[in-house]
């Protein structure tokens, strides 16, 4: 069993490769819900949507979000009714939000709704929201505090970022199955998602970070940063705001208390060497995923260095390292 922690866009690309190189039944996805929003009165969970769509083969590869071949007539009509239209929900995509909202209104948890929907779409991997509690990523800017989607989609991440917080995280619980999936996985993979606002909310849920430290399998992360820039999106700005360098060193730092292996781009060979000198295993690979082959190749590389590439003595070493780091982390 493989456990993947992921956000939406970058994570979905990686997952698209992963599902094609291993049996999807053996993958558990733990998905960021910090971006969830009420949109037109519907509960939208952008990252769960992207992961569900990619695993059911419905994701638009052109856009990287939403349903392939979708149309936007309801959106147009909402605009004519004077409603906001900055968050683009397609007509087919609306079905997901309508069904989820109805299930939640009927008293189902987000986990239950997510399973019900992914089952209907024939998804064989397991998709778990990080939490059934509401945890909201809030981005503090000079214009005030924004939800992540306001910051990212509505305002095109143009605002300077002062800080990021995860409202509700302290009181949140990991969704059923999350902790166990991390602890028992043969490997845990952190997808090439934004460390601050895609993986950060997951790590902010009490118990998840601890589970990563205690995981029996290796924990690997794929860097979403190449050189000093993110592959896409606002990861750089957000990492800087959170005191992390925008580099693979910053990614390593974000995950330092549980990371066994960092997979970074081949262009970061020199920076990788520095990290290795500090004791981290780093594997260079082609991390830009332009084609389906790129996606599968990256997934194979990551798997090769986590499961099949695992040597018993390394495994023991790794566990000892993690315990030591976790112990050093205690107050």
């Amino acid at each position: 069993m493989i456990c993947v922690l992921t956000g939406g866009t970058g994570g979905a690309k990686f997952v698209d490769g992963l599902r094609q190189v291993m049996p999807p039944e053996e993958i558990t996805m733990i998905v960021n819900t910090g971006d969830d929003l009420l949109w037109w009165g519907l509960y939208v969970s952008p990252d769960i949507d992207s992961i569900t769509y990619v695993l059911s083969g419905l994701l638009s590869r052109e856009r990287g979000w939403g349903v392939k071949g979708d149309t936007f007539l309801c959106l147009q009509a909402m605009g004519q009714l004077g409603e906001p239209t900055w968050f683009h929900t397609g007509d087919r995509d609306l079905a997901m939000h309508l069904l989820r909202s109805r299930l939640l209104a009927e008293g189902k948890t987000l986990s239950e709704a997510t399973t019900a929907i992914s089952d209907k779409l024939g998804v064989k991997a397991r998709i778990l929201p990080m939490s059934d509690s509401r945890v909201e990523t809030r981005v503090d800017t000079p214009s005030g505090e924004l939800s992540f989607e306001e910051y990212f989609v509505q305002r095109w991440y143009q605002d300077p970022v002062k800080s990021v917080r995860f409202a509700g995280a302290t009181d949140a619980e990991a969704a059923p199955g999350v902790i166990d999936a991390i602890l028992s996985a043969d490997a845990v993979i952190i997808a090439p998602s934004n460390p601050v606002t895609s993986i950060g909310p997951i790590l902010a849920v009490p118990g998840i970070r601890e589970a990563l430290r205690s995981a029996r399998g290796k924990v690997a992360a794929v860097s979403p940063i190449i050189g000093n820039a993110p592959v896409a999106g606002p990861a750089g700005i957000l990492m800087t705001a959170q005191g992390l360098p925008c580099s693979i060193a910053g990614v390593a730092k974000a995950y330092e208390d549980f990371l066994d292996l960092l997979v970074c781009d081949a262009r970061d060979a020199r920076a990788a060497e520095t990290l290795r000198k500090n004791g981290l295993r780093v594997q260079c690979a082609q991390t830009i995923m332009r084609t389906s082959d790129d996606r599968m190749a990256l997934a194979r590389t990551v798997l090769a260095h986590t499961i099949s590439g695992l040597r018993p003595e390394e495994s023991n070493q790794s566990s000892a390292d993690k315990s030591a780091r976790a112990a050093a982390d205690q107050p």
Copy 2:
């Protein structure tokens, strides 16, 4: 000011004519809400939708319901998610249901939501739901009691009908403005809608029938029955189930305590003569509305015989008649 009591399909056609032959600002619509349903978790009000669409020029004339040129991709996607698809909501049409549902969830009344939406669509006529309370048309059949939309849309009105009731009507109140619109109108027109399940629910709201009896203007109805068959839909079956003959005599009987004028099809000239002998004013006209010209011509005829055709002495006579009938109706 003209006040129109109406359901969806047949009523919408008539209203389409009316809005073109008089200033829409001078029309108040009182609309059946007995067909309202929760669909995919959204509050759908089929007759208010049709009337709003026809008055904003958005109604699909081909289908007679929904938005012209609409697509049904969300519906397809809902089907793929295993959700029911028998009630056809188009992608553009969904915007109406989404916005209304959100407004209701925020605590607005159905009247307020209806006004907000029709304002956004530039509707100049006033659209009032018959009531802000929930009144549900229930059709009793050998297969059990069905909602109107289940009976009509889902099951194609194939079930034998034992009876019809309006659940919640006893405790309902007419929506703000309804009673006053009836009492103060220069004429009240009952659109060629199903007397049992389109106009029946409106009349079942306490106070509305009494207001029609006391109205200062004439009350005219356009018959949706020609000969012994409805122009469209299940009106005949439903009238029979309620003990009304399926004929213009049945229509006259449904409205007998307040009706001043019945407008029926030219093909019913003989039946009209019989009704006249019994003291009812009956006007024959071309009531089948195939073209826009047909709709306008019928609207003009009805207006001519209610407002401009009204003679003072007739008016007094009419009021005296209505008072006498209302008095005779008291227990």
